[in-house]
């Protein structure tokens, strides 16, 4: 149901949400960098007002139910195609339950991170620039969320990519940061190119890239017969769109940029590389979910998601850097979301996006607080920090419980629902068993490495006494701990679900109304899974209970084992089991993805091609085409010079002489008295009047 005529002000509000941070960016851009307080407070205030507006939007949408949307398009510019049909490129606003929920999350998380940044970036050299980028980024993300079509999504998508690039390379004095920013930029570009191709193809076929039009086209089967390059059209387009998701959300095989992105400042990692930008890929996949489904791509997506989740989780096991563990865990959790898309768990996948954004932002902020206190990122030098940083420790415990999937926390609710849906699908369709197994294994690994992180950082005894003694005792500080504690509050499951698992199975609150998330967010069309297996309520129910029990057991097992091992030791497996050395070697090299890309793909394939193109350009094009043109132009110009000097100049001279002659006559009329001029003009006017009338 379109409510844009009922509530025309929603559009203005949505624009305000995105425009306020953008205004802050524009204004801050022109404020001299030494007004740090002004810049940071302006950024924070604008995002705060955005958050208030988006809260209002959410509260307005919430009672209306899930199939309500607000939609408006404006023509940005229009072109004429070959048959003189106007092809207009619209910009527009599309708000539905998913958008407003994401708006709410993004604005408040961004606000918390802004507040934290005023603590974390204090005293930095480019403090102001950081806030400028942060505002731009937030504006772009909010713009993406309210966009109504893929074109504007792409614009904001690229804007976010630019911000990510700038913020990864924020400490550009360090060589690693510069390289990492380039790597991130170039890697995501691969996905973006395919994304743009998909947009162009859709625009060409449908004349529109609007979400509503796409959904309608899929539901009416208008595109199902068409093919492109011999492949069914929807499959190709869906695959290309999914490649955009792969690039942005760091899925295998384009996951290599995200660990390097940790060169940026920690708040930006929290905002961009954990909470919002990487989730934008999943958001896109959810938006174009009907296309992916109609293109029969879900199995591929489920495989890629589960493989990503598993590989990243294994890589996280051996990391010694605090932020690297979190980076790999981000990839792993994004894999879960993509797995959720693949198993048609639309709602659960989006729920995991929201919950993950909250606890991962909180984890990154906590990591930032730890790093800022102890001045190192290496976990091997930490330990026992729970006494020095009690508030951070509390937040970390909450978030670790959430990400590991301990019951009563948000991660359990969302992750369990993805795994439950996957289990249900696998029961009906055997191809889905590998993703389910990988997913459950990853659940165990997640609990394991997160508990390892917690244990190595906070539990046990201090391993580097000198660093420990230098660490400041933490006191409750408004811009350091309040965002952390506020975010960690929302890791509780009750905010997202009234029952333990989010399916209304083990109820904490009796009314079904508490399952707001499940009712509020629904796919635009009913999924094929629902159509095929929707009748098996009993089975669905039981499999969810089983899945919940399994994942809870796995989580407890992982946490327990890990805490038991790592609260005392830093090394356990490599010293005991020799055969694990090979595995560790594989994991250290990150499955040789980087090696493959750099040494084989770039140096052996792209470089020769590049050299050949350069040779063509320099040797052939420059030498013959360009230089030949120049020589022709030279000879022509010398000819025209001769004509000019001898022919045209004499005419000009003649006109000058004649002007001089006549001016000598007319000069006598001017004697410099203004009144005489006026009188003359009056007389002239009188004569004219006499002649005309």
């Amino acid at each position: 149901m379109n409510i844009s005529e009922l509530f025309p002000e929603f559009g203005i509000m949505a624009i305000m949400v995105a425009l306020l941070p953008f205004c802050a960016f524009i204004i801050n851009f022109f404020i001299p960098a030494r007004f740090e307080k002004l810049i940071s407070s302006l950024s924070s205030l604008t995002i705060f007002s955005s958050a208030l507006i988006s809260s209002y939007l959410f509260v307005s949408f919430f009672p209306q139910g899930n199939r309500v949307f607000w939609f408006k398009d404006w023509a940005w510019f229009s072109l004429l195609d070959a048959n003189a049909h106007p092809l207009s490129l619209p910009m527009g606003i599309f708000l539905d339950s998913m958008s407003v929920t994401l708006l709410l999350m993004v604005t408040w998380a961004s606000f918390a991170i802004h507040i934290f940044s005023t603590y974390y970036m204090k005293g930095e050299e480019r403090y102001s620039r950081f806030f400028v980028y942060l505002s731009l980024f937030t504006a772009a993300m909010l713009g993406l969320v309210i966009s109504s079509n893929l074109f504007s999504v792409f614009i904001f998508w690229e804007l976010m990519g630019f911000c990510s690039y700038s913020l990864i390379g924020f400490y550009y004095e360090k060589e690693g940061a510069g390289n990492a920013s380039l790597k991130a930029f170039m890697t995501t570009r691969v996905g973006d190119v395919f994304f743009l191709l998909a947009i162009v193809a859709l625009w060409n076929q449908l004349g529109s890239t609007n979400f509503l039009d796409l959904t309608q086209a899929v539901s009416l089967n208008t595109l199902s017969q068409q093919t492109l390059l011999g492949v069914p059209f929807l499959t190709l387009v869906g695959f290309f769109l999914f490649l955009g998701t792969v690039g942005k959300s760091a899925q295998v095989p384009l996951q290599i940029w995200l660990p390097d992105a940790m060169w940026g400042p920690t708040p930006c990692s929290a905002l961009i590389h954990a909470a919002t930008m990487v989730a934008a890929g999943v958001y896109l996949a959810l938006r174009v979910f009907p296309i992916l489904e109609a293109g029969n791509l879900l199995l591929l997506i489920a495989y890629i998601g589960s493989i990503t989740a598993f590989l990243a989780a294994t890589m996280a096991l051996i990391q010694k850097d605090l932020k690297a563990v979190l980076a790999f865990s981000t990839i792993s959790q994004l894999g879960y979301m993509v797995l959720g898309v693949g198993v048609s768990a639309y709602n659960a996948s989006f729920m995991h996006l929201i919950t993950h954004a909250i606890f991962k932002a909180c984890l990154f902020l906590g990591a930032g607080a730890v790093i800022h206190s102890i001045h190192t990122q290496d976990m091997m030098n930490m330990g026992g920090l729970r006494k020095k940083l009690p508030f951070t420790f509390f937040a970390f415990v909450c978030c670790t419980a959430a990400i590991s999937g301990i019951p009563f926390f948000s991660g359990f609710v969302s992750k369990d629902r993805i795994l439950g849906e996957a289990l249900f699908l696998a029961w009906n369709d055997g191809y889905f068993w590998p993703p389910v197994l990988l997913g459950n294994l990853t659940a165990f690994l997640t609990a394991f490495y997160m508990a390892r992180l917690l244990a190595l950082t906070f539990l046990g005894n201090p391993r580097d006494q000198k660093l420990y003694d230098h660490t400041h005792q933490e006191h409750l500080k408004w811009n350091k701990n309040i965002p952390l504690l506020a975010l960690s509050l929302f890791t509780l499951g009750v905010f997202f679900s009234g029952s333990l698992t989010g399916q209304g199975i083990v109820k904490i609150f009796p009314e079904p109304a508490y399952e707001w998330f499940q009712n509020f967010i629904r796919p635009p069309l009913s999924t094929k899974v629902e159509q095929l297996y929707g009748a098996q309520h009993e089975l669905h129910h039981h499999l969810h209970v089983v899945g919940a029990i399994i994942s809870a057991l796995l989580a407890f097992l992982g946490v327990g084992v890990s805490l038991a091992i790592y609260s005392r030791k830093t090394q356990f497996f490599s010293s005991r089991f020799k055969f694990l050395e090979i595995v560790i070697e594989i994991l250290k090299n990150r499955y040789w993805f980087d090696y493959f890309y750099e040494k084989i793909f770039i140096q052996k394939m792209l470089l020769p091609l590049n050299n050949f193109a350069a040779k063509m350009d320099l040797e052939f094009y420059d030498k013959y085409v360009i230089d030949g043109q120049a020589k022709t132009a030279l000879s022509l110009s010398s000819l025209s010079q001769k004509i000019d000097e001898q022919g045209v100049d004499s005419v000009v001279d003649f006109s000058a002489v004649s002007v001089k002659f006549f001016s000598a006559i007319l000069k006598t009329l001017q004697n410099g008295k203004i009144q005489i001029y006026l009188l003359l003009s009056f007389i002239l006017a009188g004569i004219l009047w006499k002649i005309v009338l």
């Binding site: 000069k667 001017q670 410099g672 008295k673 203004i674 009144q675 006026l678 009188l679």
Partner: protein
Amino acid sequence: MMEKTLLLYQLLSCFLFAAGIFLIFARNHLIALFIGLELLLNASALSFATYTYAFSLPKEGYLFPIFIIVIAAAEAAVALAIAIRFYQNKESSHVADATVLQG
């Protein structure tokens, strides 16, 4: 009543116009010339307003006095700035001292 007022104001605007012309021709002071110009503008504004009122013409007639006032304000600012600048350069307000462009 209204006919008399209309005639009165029309004659008044004629006198204003004539006085403006008189001032322009009789004075050599830059600012006095400017005063004459203001009288001319006011004469036309008064005439417009009176006619529009007397014959119930469309309300656009009242816009002319307003825009005349706007133009006069802009003109006053620029003209007097030029007068001041002229005085700074030449130490005189005499119109005949503006001889830079004189042939």
